[in-house]
């Protein structure tokens, strides 16, 4: 079944740790996105990719980094987690073309102590 997956769903980690949030999609979409969402707030785009070896920063500045080595995989990494990184991170994907319907994963809720 075509879908978009995120792991872990919940992560509690100490300050200074390196973390990687995984995102995979089985829909063959070229475009992938990472959003950050604080509780009760809107989504802010932090990274996007239009294909393999293509990554761009989004509208909201983030200390995280991303990579796109395979079409289906778009991991997000924080080299040194801080409490200010506590948030929900949502991954999405869409087809190429002007009609930008995005499909979202379930999200990763990150808490940095």
């Amino acid at each position: 079944e075509a879908d978009i997956y995120q792991t872990p769903r919940y992560l509690v980690i100490g300050t200074g740790k390196k973390i990687t949030l995984e995102c995979s999609q089985t829909m063959g979409h070229d475009k992938m996105y990472w959003y950050q969402q604080d509780p009760g707030m809107e989504l802010h785009l932090i990274h996007y990719s239009y294909g393999v070896n293509s990554t761009e920063k989004g509208d909201l500045s983030s200390e995280s980094t991303v990579s796109r080595i395979r079409t289906e995989h778009f991991p997000l990494t924080l080299e040194s987690a801080r409490p200010s990184h506590t948030s929900q991170y949502l991954c999405a994907s869409s087809e190429q073309g002007p009609y930008n319907e995005q499909f979202f994963g379930p999200g990763t809720r990150l808490t940095v102590l």
Partner: protein, 114 residues
């Protein structure tokens, strides 16, 4: 730059009553318009979208939305709310000028009273 405003942060509605959620956008041309729903602890699910043509759009779960160019609005409606409609609703826009990236409104939280 494109922007989206959802004026209502919270709305409480009785089960069986009608629901209308407001969305206004700011952009010179007609953007692509979307409504997403987010249940607690979940990702976003697309309810409906408007690209062109008929300004009244039907979506899933009995929702519809009407695009009004003169008011720069894309309000979401449902004639009769069910308890399962309690969730956060986000309006979003995309434009070619912005590379078709989505810009989201602040969201409206809907509470359903029994």
């Amino acid at each position: 730059a494109q922007s989206v405003t959802q004026p209502d942060i919270h709305i409480t509605v009785s089960e069986g009553a009608s629901l209308e959620l407001r969305c206004n956008y700011s952009y010179g041309a007609t953007p692509y318009l979307f409504w997403y729903v987010q249940s607690p602890g979940q990702g976003l699910q697309l309810l409906l979208k408007y690209f062109s043509g008929d300004t009244l759009v039907q979506g899933i779960k009995g929702f519809e939305a009407e695009f009004k160019r003169s008011q720069s609005s894309f309000n979401l409606r449902k004639p009769s709310v069910h308890w399962s409609d309690a969730a956060e609703y986000f309006c979003a826009v995309a434009t070619k000028a912005a590379g078709n990236k989505l810009t989201f409104g602040g969201g409206t939280r809907v509470l359903v009273k029994p």
